[in-house]
């Protein structure tokens, strides 16, 4: 098992060295990056907006329920919702959602190309297949996932506000006051830093699983599952390390 881990780790870093080799033609890589921004980023808008909205609303209701105490000021609900979203949900939880959506898509796309010999066709043409297929995805994700994270923060907070407005569990003015109370802009940079690392992990781990897929459709399916599982675990490990490093 240790040997297998060492073999996989070695193969992963060799793949990365191929990915970051000099591109054959910058204009083609630029075009591919724009395509990937659409595929990995813009197409994930919907899921991020929907999940963030409902989670923001639910956190508001749960927090309100848990701190119903005359000694605690009501605006604490807003503070808690804001900090939960900024510190954890909009970075780590959104990354886990994207690991499922984007990770499986990358692994199955590259895995299918591997088993249908499309990657061999690229290699035969003299194209660095690893760089051509993976580098645009990394660039697109590293630049666009932070935008999705910021969007998630706004939508989550808006979800909380809307639930206050519609259900009257909390005066919206208290919620707004709480959202603004003792706000540290550092929380946003902390979240964005984490998302950049997560984006790299999700894309490279998923691409690795797809790139070395062997066999047929069954193996492509397996590589897709492995991509989601491994990238989720690594995202959580990375979360622990970065939180310790940045917030301690």
């Amino acid at each position: 098992m240790i040997m297998k881990f060492l073999h996989d780790a070695g193969q992963y870093f060799i793949l990365l060295s191929k990915v970051f080799a000099r591109p054959e033609k910058f204009s083609i890589y630029y075009r591919e990056t724009i395509r990937e921004v659409e595929k990995l980023g813009i197409n994930s808008f919907g899921i991020v907006v929907i999940i963030s909205f409902f989670v923001g609303a639910v956190i508001t209701i749960q927090t309100n329920y848990n701190i119903e105490n005359p000694l605690l000021p009501r605006y604490l609900v807003g503070v808690t919702v804001r900090d939960s979203l900024l510190l954890e949900f909009s970075s780590t939880m959104v990354a886990l959602i994207l690991a499922g959506k984007v990770g499986s898509s990358i692994a199955s796309e590259i895995g299918t190309m591997r088993v249908s010999e499309q990657i061999d066709a690229l290699e035969i043409m003299g194209v660095n297949s690893a760089s051509y297929l993976i580098l645009p995805k990394i660039i697109a994700a590293v630049f666009f996932f932070p935008i999705l994270s910021l969007l998630s923060m706004f939508i989550g907070i808006f979800g909380g506000y809307l639930i206050c407005l519609l259900t009257e569990i909390l005066p919206p003015s208290d919620y707004i006051y709480g959202i603004q109370y003792v706000f540290y802009p550092h929380y946003i940079s902390y979240a964005i830093t984490k998302v950049v690392f997560y984006a790299f992990i999700i894309v490279t781990i998923s691409a690795y699983q797809g790139y070395f897929a062997q066999g047929g459709s069954l193996e492509v399916g397996r590589s897709s599952t492995k991509a989601v599982v491994y990238s989720s675990i690594l995202v959580l490990m990375c979360n622990l390390i970065l939180t310790k490093l940045i917030l301690s």
Binding site: K25, T112, S116, E117, D120, A121, M125, G126, V127
Partner: protein, 249 residues
């Protein structure tokens, strides 16, 4: 000319290629035949460098290929066109974009020039009015022809075809075979075709190499293949009862 000298390849304890030496001549359709699992695909992929060989040398027109680095190999790979068993067209690109792909990657041609070249290659393989179609909208035979068009887009010096007739009906197979032969002769390409289709052997086999259990057992041409004493080759060529009866007569 392409030469493989004493090449061997092992997977674990399984010797897939055993000291194979073979040469393929320019302007001729060179066929590698053998049963499924005999090692012919490994031989083809070893020659083009998709599989690293354990021993031996591979030469492309006097240039030692297998010891070159990835960057150095790229220069020779630009001279190689390859037709894969499943065509290996890029699913996300149209027919036109597929054929244009190598031109976009490795030339400085303008858009108009590239389009002219794409249309020339597609016409060459008798594909017209399909530029905007995606591979999923094409039949098996059309996919193979588009793959040939993509393979010849950069005027290759070497053309490799891995089972070009697999999954095709006999009539389409003949069309593909004729196309490969015509292109080989027209552009003076060194062509290597992997096949186990005896019709192809008899139609286009300028040179035929028979691989059995990872070893080269026989080489000759399509006229000699019917009159050989090589037992394994005879078992392969006259595999059906009908063929065996015809041979006895």
């Amino acid at each position: 000319m392409i030469e493989a000298r004493n090449i061997s390849k092992k997977y674990g304890d399984n010797l897939v290629l055993d000291n194979v030496s073979v040469s393929f001549e320019q302007g001729k359709t060179n066929l590698v035949i053998g049963q499924s699992g005999s090692g012919k695909t490994v031989l083809l992929k070893s020659i083009v460098g998709l599989i690293e060989i354990d021993e031996g040398e591979i030469w492309f027109d006097g240039r030692l290929y297998n010891t070159l680095s990835f960057i150095e190999k790229k220069e020779i790979r630009k001279e190689i066109g390859m037709l894969f068993q499943g065509a290996a067209l890029f699913d996300s690109l149209t027919v036109e974009e597929n054929v244009m792909f190598p031109l976009n990657m490795f030339t400085t041609m303008g858009v108009k020039e590239k389009l002219e070249r794409v249309n020339f290659c597609l016409e060459r393989v008798n594909i017209i009015y399909a530029n905007r179609l995606y591979p999923s909208e094409l039949s098996g035979g059309m996919k193979k022809r588009v793959a040939i068009a993509r393979a010849i887009a950069l005027n290759p010096k070497y053309l490799f075809c891995d089972e070009p007739n697999s999954g095709l009906d006999p009539q389409t197979s003949i069309v593909i075979d004729a196309l490969i032969k015509k292109i080989t002769e027209e552009f003076k390409i060194t062509t290597i075709v992997n096949t186990h289709d005896m019709n192809s052997v008899l139609e286009i086999g300028d040179k035929v190499v028979f691989i059995h259990e990872g070893r080269k057992m026989w080489e000759g041409n399509k006229n000699q293949i019917m009159h050989t004493n090589c037992e394994e080759l005879n078992d392969f060529v006259f595999a059906t009862n009908l063929a065996k009866q015809l041979r006895k007569k």
